[in-house]
Subunit: 498 residues, 2 copies
């Protein structure tokens, strides 16, 4: 494709995207396809002739959009927000158009240095301790794996330079809340610790936060059995309920064993842009008994802050530990600048990197921090308002503290749950929850995520799409109440349909 062809098609695509974003509110929120529908709409054979650009735009409308759950829709309340803000979309387009390749500083000095500067800006904007340095990864899953790899090597005295984990005299153990994101267990498995050396620590029955005394006991038991605590993952904002593990209480326990502390604030990191929310990571820079504080923290601007995917920040108190594990130095990557510059290839798994800092740079400069902060505060207020509505409604319950913008709720009809909260028929309650949640999603008028809490299904209403106003939350709540009442009345949906 020539630049002139690109110019013409690019203008059409920009218009298509602008139009798409404008008509989003009128589209059904959830994907409207059955398994295989999209694949069947595509030819089995690779295309043999070229096609006009209009054919691709038509396929976006015909095949792709109906095959997506629309996360920027104002009545999207599923999983977590993923706003793909348009200023950051432009930054990402600039990255693709420039075609930069970050393999070393020399290959793209601007890619490296803009990333350094933007990460430093965000460290300041979120109040991180001085001296912490960050870089951009694709997701918090990868960031967590990177942190656990660094933890593994610190705990083993750099076994990677010898026989690896295979030569370790005593097992290294990783700890996390039983409500930690699934990526923590996955990272522990991938890093080679083994599931048997992963401890999922019990949570408080009200706050769903990790119980420090349970962590202390688990660590003591492991040490007594000859095992070695290597890392604790502290979840600041769990996926299920946005529960907040007590970082300040965990730090001294970890310090006692020299265990790495990784703070997974994938969702809640955006909240740190609000000074009034920074108490969520109190102790990060040090507490009595753990003067150094935590070792790493990751958060995803691609969630609530609204940077387009993929953009996960991993900050480290001391990156040198990571460099020792991740560094490579083949001759074809050397240059005269080595030693004076940051080589982000040594900060993560991939060698080649996109110019992802541009999407943050564009977003911060075009939208501005104040507008982002205002939007976050709006969402916090909307969640608080919704929780109040739910609490005031007979037969409805808010199941977890509303620490951020996610409300966990359940409709508990009197024939299924007694007035004192005793569940009379748990199976029927689960069926009812999944039935009304499925009906809401099938309506296309809102989208929400059922999830299991304390062994029973409930529903998460995660507020935070860029264009979600109070009126959208109110409309969703009205739809939810009506749908749940209809389902309760009919009990007509015995199987799960979400």
């Amino acid at each position: 494709m020539t630049p002139e062809e690109f110019r013409a098609a690019g203008h059409d695509l920009i218009d298509w995207i602008a139009d798409y974003r404008q008509r989003l509110p009128d589209l059904p929120v959830g994907a409207r396809v059955a398994p295989g529908d999209v694949a069947r709409a595509l030819p089995a054979d690779p295309p043999s002739a070229t096609e006009p650009f209009a054919a691709l735009l038509a396929d976006l409308d015909r095949i792709v959009v109906p095959g997506l759950t629309l996360l920027q829709h104002p009545r999207y309340f599923g999983w977590f927000p993923a706003n793909a803000g348009l200023a950051s979309v432009l930054g990402d387009l600039a990255s693709s158009g420039l075609g930069a390749l970050g393999i070393t500083w020399q290959s793209a000095p601007a890619l490296t240095e803009v990333e350094e500067v933007v990460c430093a800006w965000l460290a300041r904007l979120t109040g991180l301790p001085g001296g912490w340095r960050g870089t951009i990864h694709d997701t918090a899953s990868t960031a967590c794996l990177v942190a656990l790899l660094a933890a593994r090597e610190r705990a083993s005295g750099y076994s990677c330079d010898r026989g690896g984990l295979q030569a370790e005299p005593a097992p290294l153990v990783v700890y996390a809340s039983e409500h930690a994101h699934s990526c923590v267990a996955k990272a522990a498995v991938l890093a080679g610790f083994g599931r048997q050396n992963l401890r999922l620590i019990g949570v408080d029955p009200v706050s769903f936060a990790m119980r420090p005394e349970a962590l202390r006991a688990a660590m003591a038991a492991d040490v007594a059995a000859g095992r070695r605590p290597a890392a604790v993952v502290v979840s600041v904002g769990t996926t299920g309920t946005t529960a907040m593990d007590p970082l300040a209480d965990v730090l001294p326990l970890a310090a006692e064993h020299g265990a790495w502390v990784h703070v997974d604030a994938a969702m809640a990191g955006s909240a740190l842009l609000l000074p009034e929310c920074r108490h969520l990571v109190a102790g990060l820079g040090g507490v009595p008994g753990a003067e150094d504080g935590a070792d790493s923290l990751s958060w995803n601007p691609h969630k609530w802050m609204g940077t387009v995917l993929d953009c996960s920040l991993l900050y480290l108190r001391d990156p040198r530990l990571l460099l020792r594990v991740m560094s490579t130095d083949p001759s074809y990557l050397r240059s005269a600048a080595d030693g004076e510059v940051t080589q982000f290839k040594d900060w993560g798994i991939p060698l080649g990197r996109r110019f992802r800092a541009l999407k943050l740079w564009f977003q911060l400069r075009l939208d501005g921090v104040e507008a982002i902060q205002e939007r976050l505060r709006r969402d916090l207020a909307n969640a608080s308002w919704l929780a109040g509505q739910v609490r005031a409604e007979p037969g409805w319950r808010v199941l977890a503290p509303v620490a951020l913008q996610t409300v966990c709720l359940r409709h508990e009809p009197p024939d299924l749950v007694a007035e004192d909260g005793t569940v009379l028929d748990g199976e029927a309650l689960d069926r009812h929850t999944l039935a009304w949640a499925g009906a809401v999603n099938a309506s296309g008028q809102a989208f929400l995520t059922p999830s299991v809490l304390a062994g029973r299904w409930m529903v998460r209403i995660s507020i935070g799409a860029e264009n979600t106003q109070r009126s959208d939350v109110a409309a969703a709540w009205e739809l939810i109440r009506r749908t749940a009442a209809d389902c309760a009345a009919s009990r007509s949906s015995p199987t799960r349909t979400v």
Copy 2:
């Protein structure tokens, strides 16, 4: 940013990118900044006010472009090609504009199924064995790590479900050519094997391909010492010289020990689009003694094929092995479609995924396979032509077989290298090589990569930018000869300046 603001700014950015690509040939190829220049051009404080879009475009011109090595420049011959073709740039823009998030099939059915279909198309276009299935990762480094993790678990009977590598009775060993990409050693370290359990197998002194007899001996020695061969990484197109490890010879050796065979064809995968190049992976689907063939193969459309970064394909003969290692199943990610659909979250490290298949979909449909094939053949012919020129030139030598589009060469003045090839003063030869290569890069008229081969610096001329014509190769060769002659005459650059 509102859709209307995006529309206006987006048109400006599309024009900026089209203009940028048009004026590329007139810009210096290599980055023109010193360490810290870019960072110093940016404010230390995060922006407090919003800025007009024109300010960002101006900064792209003023700060970013001079701070990049321009990999789409027609006289870029560095590292490997990274074309960022404009059709794929549009696909990537569509991905960002749609803001899709692939965490499960349900979150974005189209993202999943377009990726399945496009990967199947490319499997056919590259002649992979039937039944192999692929998915998109960011880079070949990540793909290699994923392959080695699968290999680790298969070799250990899924130790991940027990005590991990830590409980293994005998060390698992990974093998690769001493010319394998640095990501192989890194992946072995990250996967926990330990550097002591990585064997870098010697290469043939002429072809620089792995010597099967050396692999056989290393495996036998390890088994005799109680260690267990777990994986062999076969490099099809090494980074240094595009050497081709003999896959068909390696397969039976690996099969004897049940070792996983991962084919790293990061660069050469694009060549498989040409039927006449498929002999490079002969045996992939099976050979006598190894009827199952290899286990995995990765290649990067974001290299020579020209898809914009990041787009690395990992194909697996039997993905079930990987799923067992990578799968997670938290309640909030379940849906009624589970079991009927592909969940790419279980095929790699990240949970959330961009809609990266769009850039391949757009490129294949807009550019067409035939145009891509024609371009690849043009580059092969240009490399062959250049190698002929070099061989015909007194004092110059081609140092490795030109298997693809990369020519490894050296200027060997008679005072430094005798007529029979004996190096008279190796240190001076290295200084000379680095001096003329540095001078070429500093000229801004071409960009190439010095690299060490058999202990001495040489220079790689890697042809394959989308707009590189024979005239560009000829101009670069003229510049190289003149610069090397000048350096030889003056011997004025005693230190390395690239």
